[in-house]
């Protein structure tokens, strides 16, 4: 046994040496690394782990698969090319030499991944790199092992022929199109992207949730290719063994069979998961009647004045909720039943009133009629996993609300707490969910988890607001909260440094913009860098007295280079919150738009009138400026920031009467209000 191992090791060592010392090897490494560096020279990378798990890592693995095919073929054919084969085959050796040499090919190719790791390493904290590295190395190894095995298999079948190389390279080039042809968008075969051995399907890593959205797919994918790699090697071994031992190669054949079973079982499991996932998405993605803007406040006679909800995430995959809430009859007639909305997946374990459910609609039967204006305290306990999907880019189901062992994301429209009326909103609903009400939220999470809610925090895992119109709850082992002066930042660990670095910019801009709004200027902000945004209310209106900004982790790193992103995640986000904090209604976007447009142009122009003119005309395009925006600018020119503040204050005070004004009429109103006429 030990001498068997020794032979495998020596064969491995010699093969590695022959490969690495070949003149083409450094060239290959240099070319591959240069290609990776060239392609990713200035692409934004979220974090080292994200980079390794997404585009950069998969690109690097993808192109090294070509090198693996060629190197595998070269290694397999060497003995015959050099005519060493007839000597070699007369030696008393077995499969161990083959295995050693194949493994050497795999090891020799791993350095092609160094460039990717280096680029990733520069993108963020080392802890993130260390977290991403093992998976990346494992996946690179599996792909390379598979491709090397394919190269070996081909050469051991066809012999060491020169045309094998162009054949392999051509086949590889052909496979570049695989994801396009096989993607769910095109052929519609579930799980077809399993054939994408280059991993060019970038997967769906998110900084906050890791690869949670892929579920067990990566495991099945990797097992599938590990199985195929083993199958390839076992076939080569079986072939050689049959010839050399003059016996049916029972052991290698059994191994090949086992590898085949692993690959087939993994493929089946993969397809099953894709199917299950899609079925869930189809079920949840059914179109529902949408409430119109502003309907929510008047839609139902039932109103809830206050919530007090305890969420137990000790088992994050199946949370338990204990909700106490105050129901009020906002109608003019007494009611005997209350219609609420609660996600259908949540199983009610306790209710202070008898209830009936129809999908997401929950009807509570009141024991005695509730007079108009009267209130009643109710309690509801419920539990269970809830998931809600939207169709993501390329139609893959994308969960917006989910409860999983690795993270919990409860979107504001997810129906995770009882909402008055039939609030049948789609999962990516972006309006507030209910009229302003008190909301107290207490969360229990597993050790080391962080929690985020749009409500102001009153402790590590408690939140409270007296005028909440929407509530989200995110919990993840990666989530961190940090106090920076008067501001609070919430972000996955790897993105904290980026968030921290942006706080001074935000605070400066906040001070600049706050001068134009009535009331005291807010001190600091709550700034969260989370994953992608569906499932939060547009412009994330604050429920406390600080602006709340949620930025996507995929936002470009250097905002100065991307003025549009900068305006969106900084200017618009802050202006919207200042507008809301001053009492501006979110359902009157055209009013807010004038303010936002004018203030941002002013901010960017920094006192340069020509620049200002260009900003406001560019914003609409076609060389046209919004007359209302121009009017507001005129007020500032004449009466300074006090004048503008007064106009905005009046605008908010009279907002309901301004509904429906045309831009020219609004401009006239502004000039009148600002005393410019």
């Amino acid at each position: 046994m030990s001498s068997l191992l020794a032979r495998a090791l020596i064969a491995w060592r010699l093969e590695l040496r022959l490969l690495v010392r070949h003149w083409a090897y450094p060239l290959l490494l240099a070319a591959w690394s240069a290609f990776v560096i060239y392609v990713f020279r200035d692409q934004a990378v979220i974090s080292p782990e994200a980079a390794l798990n997404r585009d950069l890592g998969h690109f690097s693995i993808g192109i090294s698969s070509l090198a693996a095919l060629l190197l595998g073929a070269a290694g397999a054919g060497r003995s015959q090319r050099t005519r060493f084969a007839s000597l070699e085959e007369s030696y008393p050796t077995g499969a161990e030499v083959l295995l050693g040499r194949w493994l050497a090919g795999v090891v020799a190719l791993l350095p092609t991944q160094v460039a990717a790791v280096a680029i990733a390493g520069r993108a963020g904290p080392a802890s993130s790199l260390w977290r991403g590295l093992p998976t990346f190395v494992l996946e690179a190894t599996i792909t390379v092992a598979f491709c090397t095995a394919v190269g070996w298999l081909l050469v051991s079948w066809l012999g060491p022929r020169r045309w094998v190389y162009p054949l392999l390279a051509g086949g590889w080039l052909g496979c570049l199109g695989l994801p396009v042809f096989l993607g769910r968008r095109n052929l519609g075969i579930p799980g077809a992207e399993l054939l994408d051995f280059m991993r060019s399907d970038t997967g769906s890593y998110e900084e906050l949730w890791g690869r949670l959205f892929e579920g067990a797919l990566p495991v099945w994918f990797n097992l599938f290719y590990a199985g195929l790699a083993a199958l390839g090697v076992a076939l080569v071994v079986a072939r050689v063994a049959a010839r050399r031992r003059r016996r049916a190669p029972l052991v290698p054949a059994a191994l090949a069979l086992a590898a085949l079973v692993v690959a087939a079982a993994s493929a089946t499991a993969y397809v099953q998961q894709v199917r299950a996932w899609e079925a869930r998405a189809v079920d949840r993605g059914k179109p529902r009647p949408l409430p119109g803007p502003g309907d929510l406040a008047t839609a139902a006679v039932e109103t809830i004045d206050a919530w007090e909800i305890a969420v137990d995430l000790t088992d994050p995959a199946s949370p338990r909720f204990d909700a106490r809430f105050t129901l009020r009859n906002a109608g003019s007639e007494p009611i005997t039943a209350a219609t609420l909305t609660l996600h259908r997946d949540l199983a009610i374990t306790m209710s202070s009133l008898p209830y009936a459910r129809d999908g997401d609609v929950l009807t509570l039967t009141l024991s005695e009629p509730l007079a108009p204006g009267a209130t009643r305290d109710l309690r509801l306990a419920y539990a269970g996993p809830i998931w809600a999907f939207i169709a993501g880019f390329d139609q893959t189901p994308y969960p917006v609300t989910f409860t999983a062992a690795d993270g919990v994301r409860l979107a504001h429209s997810g129906g995770w707490y009882p909402v008055p009326g039939r609030m049948l909103a789609p999962p990516d609903w972006s309006e507030p969910t209910h009229p302003p009400a008190a909301f107290h939220l207490a969360v229990t999470v597993p050790e080391g988890w962080g929690v985020f809610s749009n409500l102001p925090a009153t402790g590590d895992t408690t939140f409270a607001s007296e005028r909440a119109t929407w509530v989200v709850l995110f919990a993840s082992p990666r989530l961190r909260t940090e106090q920076v002066g008067a501001s609070t930042i919430v972000a996955p660990e790897a993105l904290l440094p980026r968030a921290r670095a942006l706080v001074p910019d935000y605070e400066a801009l906040l001070a600049d913009l706050a001068r134009y709004f009535p009331g005291p200027a807010p001190k600091g902000l709550t700034f969260a860098v989370l994953d992608t945004l569906p499932g939060t209310a547009a412009y994330t209106p604050p429920a406390g007295d600080q602006p709340l900004v949620i930025m996507s982790g995929t936002t470009p790193r250097d905002l100065k280079k991307y003025p549009l992103n900068r305006r969106y995640v900084m200017g618009d986000a802050l202006a919207a919150d200042l507008w809301g904090l001053a009492g501006g209604a979110p359902e009157l976007p055209f009013l807010f738009h004038v303010v936002q447009e004018s203030l941002w142009a002013r901010h960017v122009a920094g006192g340069d009138p020509e620049r200002f003119r260009r900003e406001v005309t560019d914003a609409l395009g076609g060389g046209q400026a919004d007359p209302a925006v121009v009017a507001l600018a005129k007020i500032e020119a004449r009466r300074g920031e006090d004048g503008v503040r007064q106009v905005i204050a009046r605008m908010i005070a009279e907002q309901q009467t301004l509904r429906g004004l045309a831009p020219a009429e609004l401009a006239a109103w502004i000039e009148e209000a600002g005393g410019a006429r």
Binding site: L87, S90, P92
Partner: protein
């Protein structure tokens, strides 16, 4: 180490490379003589387990080559007709690797590698890359690798084919020196290769054994059938058609021939003492053209 071959056949489609070969090699240095295409390489590749026969049986030291090829490889040293090494390695590295493959324990390996290098006189060049070696040096390295592990059986396939005359003689001497207690099976189409050294030999012709015995017995096959005679250039065609011409040279405008024939050719031949080559020609029926080509 005794080799027993029984009714061995190897067909490549319609080509009968071996057509019922039975042979007993008692040991010592044994020559397998035959023209190109006679089936020597085929026979040897079967013997060293690289090739499966169509039918028949071969045992080496009692081990069935077909049933237990792995055991045969353990006692084998093989120098194929054509072979090569990894050109970027030095002879030492290459032999060290082969030593591992031949299951020589690490402690004995270094010593053995040095010993075989010394044996084939490559010690001085052991640290040079094999890519820089001449044909003769590579051939000697081939012997060195075969000697590793001290095999009881050495199988050598046409070792002198690519060598110049001087290298060829040195090579023969080397073979004789290393044969020692081993069984050496040497195939060649050059009579001189086996003449000096072999204790036994067989002649293979079109896949069949035409002769098996000692060199002396092969010489006896030609006794009384070897003649010397002089002919006019114009008579050549007629003579060559009827008898086997061993050699010919021009003397004063006439041709002096050495021929193998049952009867005195043209009635003017002078009987001469037979040699091994005459015996080979007598049993193999090779024509002049080949005979001349093979005459060194």
């Amino acid at each position: 180490m005794e080799i027993v071959i029984e009714d061995l056949r190897k067909y490549y489609g319609a080509v009968r490379a071996l057509d019922g070969v039975s042979l007993h090699v008692p040991g010592g240095m044994f020559g397998l003589l035959g023209p190109n295409g006679a089936g020597k390489t085929t026979l040897m590749r079967i013997l060293v387990t690289l090739l499966a026969p169509t039918s028949g049986r071969v045992t080496v030291g009692g081990i069935d080559v077909m049933r237990e090829p792995a055991r045969v490889r353990e006692i084998l040293g093989y120098i194929p007709q054509e072979f090569g090494f990894y050109r970027s390695l030095t002879a030492y590295e290459m032999l060290d690797y082969i030593g591992t493959m031949k299951r020589i324990p690490p402690r004995a390996r270094k010593r053995q590698v040095e010993a075989v290098l010394e044996e084939v006189n490559l010690t001085a060049d052991a640290k040079r890359r094999i890519g820089t070696y001449s044909g003769g040096m590579k051939q000697r390295l081939g012997i060195a690798q075969a000697l590793l592990g001290d095999p009881a059986l050495l199988v050598v396939d046409e070792p002198t084919a690519g060598l110049d005359p001087e290298e060829r003689i040195r090579f023969r001497n080397l073979l004789v020196r290393i044969s020692g207690r081993r069984t050496v099976l040497l195939s060649t189409h050059i009579v001189a290769d086996v003449e000096a050294s072999c204790t036994g030999l067989a002649v293979l012709r079109q896949g069949r054994i035409a002769f098996a015995g000692t060199p002396e017995e092969l010489v006896e096959r030609a006794r009384g059938r070897v003649w010397q005679l002089e002919v006019e250039p114009g008579e050549w065609e007629a003579v060559a058609a009827r008898v086997q011409v061993v050699s010919s040279r021009t003397v004063g405008g006439r041709l002096q021939l050495r021929v193998v024939a049952d009867e005195n050719p043209l009635g003017r031949g002078v009987p001469v003492e037979p040699g091994l080559e005459d015996g080979y020609l007598a049993v193999s029926g090779t024509t002049l053209r080949e005979g001349m080509l093979t005459h060194v």
